[in-house]
Amino acid sequence: MESSSSSVSTATPVGVTPDYDDRIVKMFFTATVIWGIVGMLVGVIIALQLTFWQANLGPWLSFGRLRPLHTNAVIFAFAGNVCFTGIYHSMQRLLKTRMFNDTLSRIHFWGWQLIIVSAAVTLPLGMTQSKEYAELIWPIDVAITLVWVVFGINFFGTVARRKVQHLYVAIWFYMSFVITIAVLHIFNSLAIPATLFRSYPIYTGLTDALVQWWYGHNAVGFFLTTPFLGLMYYYLPRAAERPVYSYRLSIIHFWALVFLYIWAGPHHLLFSALPDWAQTLGMVFSIMLIAPSWGGMLNGLLTLRGAWDRVRTDPVLKMMVVAVSFYGMSTFEGPMMSIRAVNGLAHYTNWVIGHVHSGALGWVGMMSFGMLYWLVPRLYKRELWKPQWAEAHFWLATIGIVLYTVAMWAAGLMEGLQWRAINDAGQLANPIFLDITARLQPFLLLRVVGGSMYLVGAIMMGINFWKTVRGSDEAAQTPASVTA
């Protein structure tokens, strides 16, 4: 079945380490681990607040203010820094050149961290624009734009001075990330400032809602999907030491994905007063996204042919397999939830939260962990402090995700059905909203358990990396097996 050479040639020979900037990769990696734990901790806290209202502590730590902090922290701080870690590491190697400008790299790093710190200060203070995943106040939006431009110049500058002609598929996905996030962020953030801390969008009503969900849906598409597919295309074949299954598939699914994704935003506004035609577009384009999304999953899973024996033992590959599987699962679930009839049941319920987290914890989180467990020993040229902890992390995270999603499915279906249930007299069977809220409590508690397991896994990873990086000199001897 297999033909040609089955081993991957190493284009960067051992010993001849080119002049790559790995310092910036280490900086982004450190930020990733810290913000990841912070963001997930806030997630567990707000999950707790839904089961114990007493956990809402004063104005600054109440659910309404912390929920945006959680989403911003895990998306832009954790996932953002993961992307930058992987992109800065892999693009130098894929393009055989150092980053375009080290100063721009540092401005990007420190600018991004400053934005995160500003978010962590302003959101608990109640300074928000209220648009989901675009809550940050307008001065921070301006800072994001500037930092993104710096990143863009650095990115395209590096592409321009590359030592290879052909751009590998990972670079395509990175490029779509750089371009699309700029477009989305700028057009969704256009607003009229009232004070330094407050502004009003230039759009109003349902137009504002459509622009926001064009942004919001594609933040998922181009911040949490395409860059991670790029990371998958680099780190999965490197870790598996297998050729990518199909170049042609990567071409087709890349172009289909980036073209189709943008249209699907209105599925967040089904049954609103948004014109029917726009709702239909949101729904049908979501359905058409199934195959392009699965193209990425297939190319990931089929690349592992011939490496499945190692999947059983290697936490890196295990995590990547779970990540790609959850990607396939949630990119099927999402289109199903975009169908009008299903959405009528699922919208506004915990099912949506479960769907998001099967993508976020399953795909984004596991892909990140897998990548980091592969990268860190190579980056620091040290053996991982406790490989068995990585194994434990894998199981904690996997079981945590399953508990989380199952709890949210159950809760979502229950509330969706009970909100709409009609009794024999033609009246609401559950007229009192709080009766339904009370019935959700066991599931919300189970969600706290699942989320906590996931958090504990991430903390174990943090300690493991800390010990690895700060390890004693004896441990610092570079074993041949981890030379990149």
Partner: protein
């Protein structure tokens, strides 16, 4: 390696085009990507500004008063939209629970929109007039006193914290710039408007034994909540009366549902 290169040279046109033109020239690739990601957004967003294709409009809607704007800003500050939607869907069960379904023109002056994406608590699109002012006052102080079993946090600081007139004036000026029609945008006008409307709420609260002043956050919050969905409901009732002779079965039941409007706490 040689063998493989030969393969490509013999390869189909797709191979040469992709590898050397599209994927070999970064500028071409970047432009192609930009075009690919732009089409969908342009196709959906531009028609929103057209009268026939975009959301339905109505001239009868009025903008939020200064006090309501202040309350709306508090609603945003506290992240109320993270748990409460403002969008009643066109389904019978929702009409029974909440009242009339939400029309596009009701959001004419909703900047930003606050449709919400989650119902950890009930929808608030039609909450205006459903409870007395004093109910909201007590409910913000301690939600469980009025809604046993509620998981909503208490917002007791709203009872003591104050709204700055200068701050509200800045908001009114920005909203005027955005095109919201206001009779004034001076600090004096904003203060007078807030005192007038806030005074009515203070009087209502006083008659129920709750002492406060017009510039507390709770008064602004009550002003905003009591406004929600009321105007839309009135406009819909006028429309229903105007077209009563040829009214369809649906509008009468809708109107009844608007009256019933559920009793969620």
């Amino acid at each position: 390696m040689t063998e493989n290169n030969q393969h490509e040279e013999q390869g189909s046109a797709y191979g040469r085009f992709h590898r050397r033109v599209l994927e070999g020239k970064a500028v071409v690739f970047a432009v192609a990507t930009t075009v690919a990601i732009s089409i969908g957004g342009l196709a959906e967003i531009i028609p929103m500004f057209s009268a026939s294709l975009g959301p339905e409009r109505s001239e009868a809607v009025t903008p939020y008063t200064p006090l309501e704007v202040a309350g709306r800003d508090l609603y945003i500050r506290e992240g109320c939209y993270t748990c409460h939607s403002q969008m009643v869907r066109p389904m019978r069960a929702e009409l029974l629970r909440y009242g009339e379904w939400s029309r596009a023109w009701e959001y004419t002056y909703d900047r930003p929109f606050l449709l919400g994406s989650r119902r950890l608590g009930p929808d608030l699109q039609r909450v205006g007039g459903k409870y007395p002012d004093a109910w909201h006052y007590d409910h913000m102080e301690d939600p469980r006193a009025l809604s046993p079993g509620s998981i909503m946090p208490a917002y007791d600081w709203m009872l003591t914290d104050r709204v700055e007139v200068a701050d509200v004036t800045a908001s009114i000026r920005a909203l005027s710039t955005a095109g919201h029609p206001y009779d004034g945008d001076s600090e004096e006008w904003v203060r007078a408007e807030m005192e007038r409307q806030g005074g009515e709420i203070v009087a209502n609260l006083q008659s129920a034994g709750r002492e406060t002043t017009w510039d507390t956050e709770i008064v602004a919050m009550i002003a905003y909540l009591q406004r929600l969905g009321v105007e839309g409901r009135q406009i819909l009732q006028q429309q229903a009366t105007a077209s009563a002779p040829e009214a369809e079965a649906s509008s009468t039941e809708s109107a009844a549902a608007a009256q019933a409007g559920g009793g969620d706490r």
